[in-house]
């Protein structure tokens, strides 16, 4: 699709911005808005040695880690919630294959704010945790005046590239969310380059009718990729539920590296891209996710 803004591009064009060794931010929240089409695209391309800065997430950081694309990852929270611990992240962290930069909510919030404001670091309260012990570069004791509460400095977070998923966008690149925006806009302000997948493209008039849904205005986006079911097997709030059956398949396939490699070969590294992925999941299974019948 050729558009006036030039921001709507195909997957390969968008992902060309991601180079080996970069720091990559990931938006969304646990199973919500995980930019999975972008993640699958990066894995298919075989990108290496990434440093991840995921917002609290699940299958997006877990799949990149399981595919061997990651050298180190910040961990604020990586969980499969009711389906257990994030299986590939867990295996990589326990074996030491991936270095974990332990973080917490205030650390990522303060770091992103500093990044968005072009400040060298943010100041957060020292909450008496063990985080500074295991991540001394991420949490430094701050100099404070006599009598002040103890504070920590957290370095600015400025991802080279940020991956997001929204529900719809117009051709100028205004991205609308039907659910919460989580850290996505703050991360977009802090990142150097923002790639956002959306499930569909809509006319500008649709966006103007409900401008409050625009969580990422066009000025904060560099590239938009239109990929139906691009958040699968996570959920795209308001459009489709998370695919519990496929997530269970994923968890079962993650029991060891060999088995997970077979999963990736079947679903991700088959050369067919997103159309082949959707075919493999199946139209009927995808349609069932849009019925609202799976929740709660």
């Amino acid at each position: 699709m050729k558009t006036s803004s030039g921001k709507i591009v195909d997957l390969a064009t968008a992902l060309a911005a991601v180079k080996d060794g970069m720091t990559v931010g990931i938006g969304g929240w646990i199973f919500h808005g995980q930019p999975m089409a972008l993640i699958r695209g990066l894995i298919a391309r075989g990108v290496r040695d990434l440093t991840l800065v995921p917002a609290p997430g699940s299958v997006a950081p877990d799949m990149l880690i399981g595919a061997g694309c990651v050298k180190e990852t910040a961990c604020v929270f990586i969980s499969f919630e009711h389906l257990g611990l994030a299986p590939n992240f867990r295996r990589a962290a326990q074996s030491g294959a991936v270095k974990v930069l332990e973080m917490d909510g205030p650390g990522i919030a303060g770091g992103l704010r500093a990044g968005a404001c072009d400040l060298p670091y943010g100041l957060i309260p020292d909450l008496g945790t063990d985080l500074p012990k295991v991540n001394p570069n991420g949490y430094r004791k701050a100099r404070v005046q006599e009598g002040s509460r103890p504070l920590l400095e957290v370095p600015a977070i400025k991802p080279d590239v940020l991956l997001l998923h929204g529900q719809q966008a117009d051709e100028e690149g205004n991205v609308q969310y039907f659910g919460a925006g989580y850290f996505d806009l703050l991360m977009a302000q802090a990142a150097k380059h923002v790639i956002c997948s959306v499930d569909r493209i809509v006319p500008s008039s649709t966006v103007r009718q409900s401008a409050r849904l625009t969580k990422i205005p066009s000025a904060f986006v560099d590239a938009i990729v239109v990929t139906p079911f691009g958040a699968h097997p996570g959920c795209s709030p308001g459009l489709y539920d998370q695919d519990e059956a496929h997530l269970k398949t994923y968890v079962a396939a993650s029991r060891d590296q060999k088995s997970f490699d077979s999963y990736l070969d079947a679903f991700v590294r088959n050369g067919g891209g997103e159309p082949a992925y959707r075919d493999k999941i199946g139209a009927q299974a995808l349609a069932a996710l849009t019925s609202g019948g799976a929740a709660p």
Binding site: S79, G96, V100, L127, G128, T129, R149
Partner: protein, 270 residues
């Protein structure tokens, strides 16, 4: 874990016990995977605390209420909320402000004698035996809210350890005045609710103490399942079980689709 058969599920009991301790007008925060917490807050609002205010930490929806317990981050909560706030603004009062929240309710992989919380790892952080999900807002909620509850769906020596392997939420730290000595505001854990009983913290030492045991649970069983010495009062109270009215409101107004009994049955006896 042997437990007497009950006419209510474990999740229902934990929700009722938590709800009873909440006061009208208090402010609370609920995380993503928080069915029991959501039920407790909405039960308190439906009974004795109609002006309790709670917010979904990730999603920003305030007081979503529709008689169905949903994950707090879900978009479906928007249509039944009073407000929807954005996380980049909420971080001011979640991560920095002192005592904005009256309470939070937190689960954990491990807790210890002084109510510190660990959701990060079991074993050494560099090479853990079990890699947990991480800290997210737990550090801030333990550190900055007026009090917090520790809600454990399992009570055994793996979960109740002498000292947590990683402090990601500071409780009473090393006991006594250590928490405020470290520069943290007054607060810390007030109650611990588990499938076996309710526990609090002795005011001077800040060590965990038995408050009441659930029906059919003996003190020996609790000791066998706790990895440190609990303080035990001379007379041990029996937990007041959820009554008919509490269960009626819970099932007819708060959890009409039965999420709690489906997801949180009593642990099987072993």
């Amino acid at each position: 874990m042997p437990v007497v058969p009950q006419s209510f599920a474990m999740g229902e009991m934990l929700a009722v016990l938590l709800a009873r301790d909440m006061a009208d007008g208090e402010k609370a925060i609920v995380g993503t995977n928080s069915d029991i917490q959501v039920a407790a807050c909405n039960l308190a609002r439906a009974r004795h605390a109609p002006h309790l205010w709670w917010v979904s930490g990730p999603g920003g929806m305030t007081n979503p209420t529709e008689g169905i317990i949903r994950p707090a981050a879900d978009a479906e909560n928007i249509a039944v909320a009073q407000a929807v706030m954005d996380l980049p603004l909420m971080i001011d009062f979640i991560d920095w402000q002192i005592h904005f929240f009256d309470f939070a309710i937190l689960g954990a992989l491990q807790t210890d004698r002084f109510g510190n919380i660990n959701t990060v790892c079991v074993g050494d952080h560099a090479k853990p035996r079990l890699r947990g999900p991480g800290t997210v807002g737990i550090s801030a909620l333990c550190g900055l809210s007026k009090r917090f509850y520790i809600m454990m769906t399992r009570h055994d020596r793996g979960a109740f350890v002498p000292k947590v392997d990683f402090v990601c939420g500071a409780g009473h730290m090393t006991g006594g005045s250590s928490r405020t000595d470290a520069g943290l505001p007054e607060g810390g854990p007030s109650l611990v609710v588990t499938p076996l009983g309710v526990f609090d913290f002795e005011p001077a030492s800040k060590a965990m103490r038995v408050r009441s045991l659930h029906e059919g649970v003996t003190i020996d069983e609790v000791r066998d399942n706790t990895g440190f010495d609990l303080l035990v009062p001379d007379k041990i109270e029996s937990t007041l079980a959820p009554d008919a009215e509490e269960l009626f409101v819970l099932r007819r107004a708060v959890d009409t689709t039965g999420v709690l009994p489906a997801k949180f049955p009593w642990p099987k006896a072993n």
